[in-house]
Symmetry: C2
Subunit: 416 residues, 2 copies
């Protein structure tokens, strides 16, 4: 179990998060960064930077955290009032820092733009805070130690926050001995088996061990099972032995240890077998290609994708015969098969995935209603097509097709 | 300003959120749903379902909220302990509800799978709670009214939570008069202008109005500016007049009112002009196509995308001349131009966007380092190519290319 001696809390400021206009990427990023270093973030509080209760919320966290991180609210515009509210809550005054102003001016010189007058606002800091340099923006971060606690205030834009966190915040925390060495739990990732069925299958094994903590998390057709010993973080070998037993029990439903994503796992399998992959995507609209090309090094196995939204594109670029489209319609077993074969050929790849279906909201027919999906898989063994009918929304259908298609390929590659 | 008479708070449970393993989609979804109905979510608390401080956190929120929503922690596995902790905090006992068990059994009959014994756990509820039916999963939601407040507990899987929220929770809140009619602010969305420059430009206009609240939010090259009158939510005409003045001042940097995304705006412009769009994507790897096909109805203007990760694909599928690739390399102005022309031709479209570049981490050269990007735009007026050099990470480069490319097309379509 991760060391809980040091309590890390995160406050993410921004009305746009509460209005559902942007995703809370800072939670994901900072949670992940800490996790990689053996720390489980205790909690995250999202409040509006316009919120008049900000002192109340801040006080709640400051009373409970050892390390409190805030993001956002350091901008130049009038609605950025975080520093004022937090300084108030800490009983500090804000002072104008000439050296911060100098670095803001320098930043504007570098990007060749005039400094707006409102940027002067960014040069204020609580009296006991020091600036954390921001090479990618105007607002510096702030670091404040008080009452045996640490407050770290970071700017909102991810391209400013992230390098600052990795290059400056983490090293400072390390110097203070507040960062551990690595994860002290083992994560077993499964796919194609439900959460309750997985628990039922694995529980008899886990019940043999005392003090074994088990947590399950289901997402996108995958279920992660994290195991750790509550009494010690140094029984890694034993955890690994349990993991190997799970792997044996799960067979092809075992996806991997740790946090590798399904696209990463598929790419690594392809690399190991000197295979290459082509795609023919109709309703998935490039989503499978996009997920694959998010992985560094994808180019060594990924040939490309033909996103064929029109029937013409299916015929001209993939060589699907016109008669096949006319006889069976574009959402059919035969077209899915021809698309997979055509993609492998056009893009010169050993494996190909095809996807055709009705993601909705319109179209579909009696026999192939909205939610009907055909996924084709071409491999050196031949071509297979699978049919699904999913009663979920447009984006959910696209996403499920992505995971289902990659898992079909993965099972083929592991030979199951 | 949204009516703040009713305070809505959201607790999202899940260690996976704090570990950065999954994104907090429930915040985005529920925040958006409430926003559409004129409500600004007050705050969101993310805590682990394994957290022993859960009562402390729950008590903090229960003391401040009028409507408190929780997500997650209702699953069948042993680590799902939310109900227990919350019932404790409310001073309630958990009782076993036969009718809930019946609906769980019915659910398993429908999907043709045997019920695991651990699913019985999901039939417990706090004594004063009533079940909210879950047609898409085993765990029902729970609705509890106490001390003049409402507690709504929802299951974690999005495909269960979302229909439950829209079809059952919202109507119940409406019946209780806790939902307003609509947004009482105006959002002005801009693109291509920085946050502080935008504020400097618009402030003289805003300063002419008393009680005008202004909030800025920057994301992905766009800056949203939300304006509202603090003293009244019924001055919509006046807000609109101010908005029109902003629109005039911003010119082509004005993206739109409200929350339409850049892909939606581009698709609507294309539809209005009977245009069609093809893509040739190298390093963007299908991301542009994916963003476009996320929009319902994309098929009426989107022809498709050729994701050409290899030089061969660029030549065979887009007709880029071999000599051009050999002379200038694949990341060059000439290849970007030939890709755009080739995509328009192969996919028979009036407009085409091409993207070629080095997203990293490897490759690149002295003259075209990692971060070099060429975006081509083919239109009935001809073909133009723009060169960029972005010192950001792989995924950020892909994302910035998506927005930049769509904005190039948008500016062409609005004739600026």
């Amino acid at each position: 179990m991760p060391d809980k001696a040091t309590t890390y809390m995160l406050i993410t400021l921004g009305e746009e998060l509460l209005l559902g206009l942007t995703r809370n990427g800072h939670l994901t990023y900072i949670g992940d960064q800490l996790r990689q270093r053996g720390i489980t973030l205790h909690s995250n509080y999202t409040i509006s930077d316009e919120n008049h209760d900000i002192d109340d919320q801040f006080a709640f966290c400051w009373g409970r955290a050892d390390v409190l991180i805030t993001t956002g609210g350091l901008g130049p515009t009038v609605d950025d009032r975080t520093k004022e509210a937090i300084a108030d809550a800490l009983g500090e005054s804000l002072i104008f820092d000439e050296s911060i102003l100098e670095s803001i001016k320098e930043r504007f010189r570098q990007i060749g733009r005039p400094m707006s007058d409102n940027n002067r606002k960014q040069a204020y800091r609580p009296e006991s805070a020091v600036a954390i340099e921001n090479p990618n923006g105007t607002a510096p971060g702030l670091w404040l130690e008080k009452d045996g606690k640490i407050l770290i205030m970071l700017p909102g834009p991810p391209n400013e926050l992230q390098p600052m966190f990795e290059n400056q915040v983490i090293p400072r925390l390390e110097r203070l001995g507040l960062i551990d060495q690595g994860e002290s739990y083992l994560q077993i990732r499964s796919i194609g088996i439900g959460e309750s069925a997985l628990e039922t299958e694995l529980r008899p094994l886990f019940d043999q061990y005392e003090n074994l903590a088990v947590a399950y998390c289901a997402h996108q057709g995958q279920v992660d099972c994290r195991i750790s010993f509550q009494d010690s973080s140094e029984r890694e070998e034993e955890l690994h032995k349990i993991g190997e037993e799970c792997r044996r029990m799960l067979g092809a439903d075992f996806l991997g240890y740790g946090h590798d994503s399904l696209p990463e796992i598929v790419l690594n399998l392809l690399k190991g077998q000197n295979g290459s992959l082509a795609l023919a995507e109709s309703f998935t609209g490039g989503q499978i290609a996009n997920a694959i090309t998010d992985i560094p090094g994808a180019s060594s196995v990924f040939s490309g994708s033909i996103v064929c939204y029109s029937d013409e594109a299916k015929m001209n670029l993939l060589g699907v015969p016109r008669e096949t489209v006319q006889k069976y319609t574009a959402v059919s077993q035969s077209v899915a098969e021809a698309m997979a074969v055509g993609a492998a050929k056009s893009l010169n790849a050993t494996y190909a995935i095809s996807a055709t279906g009705y993601a909705g909201p319109d179209r579909g027919s009696k026999d192939t209603p909205v939610g009907t999906v055909f996924l084709g898989l071409h491999s050196p063994d031949g071509t297979e097509v699978h049919r699904y009918e999913w009663k979920i929304g447009r984006l959910a259908i696209k996403r499920r097709a992505l995971h289902t298609a990659l898992d079909l390929l993965r099972r083929k590659l592991v030979g199951s």
